[in-house]
Symmetry: C2
């Protein structure tokens, strides 16, 4: 039998979430995957390892949602209380689960490790659950079908939870529910502040069909526009959204760099691959973060040849042949120096493009003329070099992020021939 009214509440369990020691990345992952199959997350609650609070949240959520998905509290140690709480909640008790124990034995065999007594206890599960095999860790997931609601309990370790979602939870949910269409499309933009962007697309926004809702999601250097459609079939929503986005491209086409979860390094990777081109980097104040963003993409070895992080100025000379006198007279953070860095980096790695960066990430390093947040960067191609100056803020982490994102955007614009237009 199918259940209807598909909404889910996520409950994350663990004191570490409440004292701020752990950033909850699990909820975002879970929400994304559920959305894709048409289950809406309507609330997320985090509670500590406190049995009474856990029971309360479970009871409240069960009044509103058809799926209740919990993560955390399944470890082998004393502070993990989820299994006991679930037994209380369902009025059941822990029993030794044969199939889970076999899964555990298999896991330890693969890893060539001995099972401890604590690990063995992880095969004890509430007797009304279906055990979900955890191939990447020792805590099994659990599936409860109770009073026409589905309760799911997963471990809090992100890659274990993700594997369980993919292999066990999503297929079972699709089988259990008749799911309706929700359509999301995110448009990724860069180069316009949120309020300027909102002004620019105001009329377009007002003219959106009533089945669509628009949200602005700002991040450092990026504003994402999320279009959500409901109330029609998936195909109708998709077709309608394509028309809306085509109109939007007329207004801000140059600023749109991608769609949905596409990240800038991924977009650049696709562009470079499609043109059979290569890139290298010479980055000082971003300290390897630009190379990291580029190489975070699987397959980046096809177009990324390598990078230099000449953190100490002497290595701008030694590794990138930047004239020592130039650094002395113009300063390491200068147009002239980043131009030399980019030109020589491109030659060194023999790439189609090279990006160079020199700046003051802070908090130290400022001079009377050059304040924290000043960043020069350049892009070299086979026939020219262009430099750009940025003045970011005082926060080191944010400056590193903004610097690397701006360099990627510089590369995107150069590849697409948009650089001189702006």
């Amino acid at each position: 039998m199918y259940l209807c009214a598909m909404n889910c509440e996520i409950i994350t369990i663990g004191d570490e979430l409440l004292i701020g020691q752990v950033i909850d990345t699990n909820s975002a992952y879970i929400a994304n995957r559920l959305n894709e199959i048409g289950i809406r997350v309507t609330r997320r609650t985090a509670v500590g390892d406190v049995p009474d609070d856990m029971i309360n949240v479970l009871s409240d959520a069960s009044l509103r949602a058809s799926v209740i998905l919990m993560t955390g509290g399944l470890g082998p140690t004393k502070d993990d209380k989820t299994k006991d709480v679930l037994c209380d909640y369902f009025g059941t008790s822990l029993t030794f689960n044969e199939s889970s124990f076999k899964d555990l034995e298999e896991l330890f065999k693969t890893r060539g490790r001995e099972m401890t007594e604590l690990n063995r206890s992880q095969a004890e599960l509430p007797d009304n659950c279906i055990a979900l095999q955890n191939k990447l860790g020792t805590a099994p997931g659990m599936w409860f079908d109770h009073n026409d609601k589905i309760y799911i309990s997963l471990p809090g370790v992100p890659y274990e939870m993700e594997n369980l979602m993919k292999e066990q939870v999503l297929p079972r949910l699709k089988e259990r529910f008749k799911l309706e269409a929700v359509f999301h499309r995110t448009i990724q933009t860069t180069g316009l502040a949120e309020s300027v962007l909102a002004d620019r697309i105001r009329e377009w926004e007002s003219a959106l069909p009533p089945c669509f809702k628009l949200a602005y999601l700002p991040a450092p250097g990026i504003v994402r526009l999320r279009l959500t459609g409901e109330g029609k079939t998936y195909d109708e929503l998709k077709a309608l959204s394509e028309k809306c986005i085509a109109d939007l491209r007329e207004l801000i086409g140059d600023q749109i760099f991608g769609y949905d979860d596409e990240r800038l390094p991924e977009v650049i990777g696709k562009l470079l691959k499609s043109q059979n081109q290569t890139v290298s980097v010479a980055e000082s104040c971003s300290g390897g973060y630009l190379a990291h963003l580029i190489t975070s993409i699987a397959g980046s070895s096809e177009y990324f040849k390598g990078g230099i992080v000449p953190y100490d100025n002497s290595f701008k000379t030694k590794l990138l042949s930047v004239d020592k006198e130039l650094i002395l007279t113009k300063g390491a953070v200068s147009e002239e120096v980043v131009i030399e860095m980019a030109r020589n980096c491109r030659k060194l790695f023999d790439t189609d493009y090279a990006l160079s960066i020199s700046g003051i990430a802070g908090p130290g390093g400022a001079t009377p003329e050059k304040s924290v947040g000043l960043v020069w960067m350049a892009i070299a191609t086979r026939d020219k070099v262009q430099a750009r100056k940025f003045q970011f803020g005082k926060n080191r982490t944010l400056n590193i992020t903004l610097t690397a994102n701006s360099a990627l955007e510089l590369l995107r614009r150069e590849i697409l021939g948009l650089l001189n237009a702006n």
Copy 2:
């Protein structure tokens, strides 16, 4: 008048949190800062931009908590509904706030930008609030003192929220409440799996004074132990915890790399600075992430000279003088190659230490003999080079993280003379 019973619920607002588009880093930051001043976060709830849901969550939270702190929904655009909801909730209405408007004028003057009509509307606030100046953005924070509960509304942009917390919210909370002691100490360990660690310290854990609670927080390559004390004065809890931790060091001293929020790159930075030593890196499969972790620390230019990312194998030869024949016969991912990379990197940058990395991050790049997740790394000092082999898993992102963390740990052990002991 002081209020008592200091607990806080955090409410984060925005559809983006429920469809998984944004990872909620704000809650962790807020919880950390509140904990430091003795306010416990007892629940966190995320709801969408849905007025009814927002009102329900506010009402429920006000039954349990003395402080209700909201973030999000304050932008200038249509999807932002927090101010209207707060007016409904308190039975007040929006009025033009002079002091907020002056703050806005100042902000736009500094940035040399024109204020739009949308920005001007951001100075309209519920008439029962105290406006909190947002120096980094256009949405002011709000403070409500209502029926002996404090309600705080902050923008969702992380650095804006953080600045408001520091400059406005925390000082006001300290003034408004009489705060009791909560003591946290986190012990950061590496090198032991959670269950092995738990076995090793079982007796110590059982003998902890009853005012302490212990939690295990696993992350890639790291397990943090969090000790939380309550029910005594701060100084008593601190003294007791120091004794407990001294006992713990007897059991797992080599595995403890730091305390509280200290990250491995920070610990290494302190060690290098204290010994006036320097480091450089040559990293292939980690693609700049190791250099990024090292340079994420303010002041790292004192000890980090630079790095090479020889992503294409030819640059292992060209930049690091690794014998081409060696790469052909042993493979780029081999003990021999990382040893040469580390030795030559150290010479090139003339540093006390050099780390080298070569591996298969995946998903591509595996051979019949070498599977995805195989990583070789080496550390060179002025008189020797030592290599280590790791076999991580199939996940590219996780492999990059584990690789960089393992390299940092290799460096820590070398600096402390622990490397040969293990």
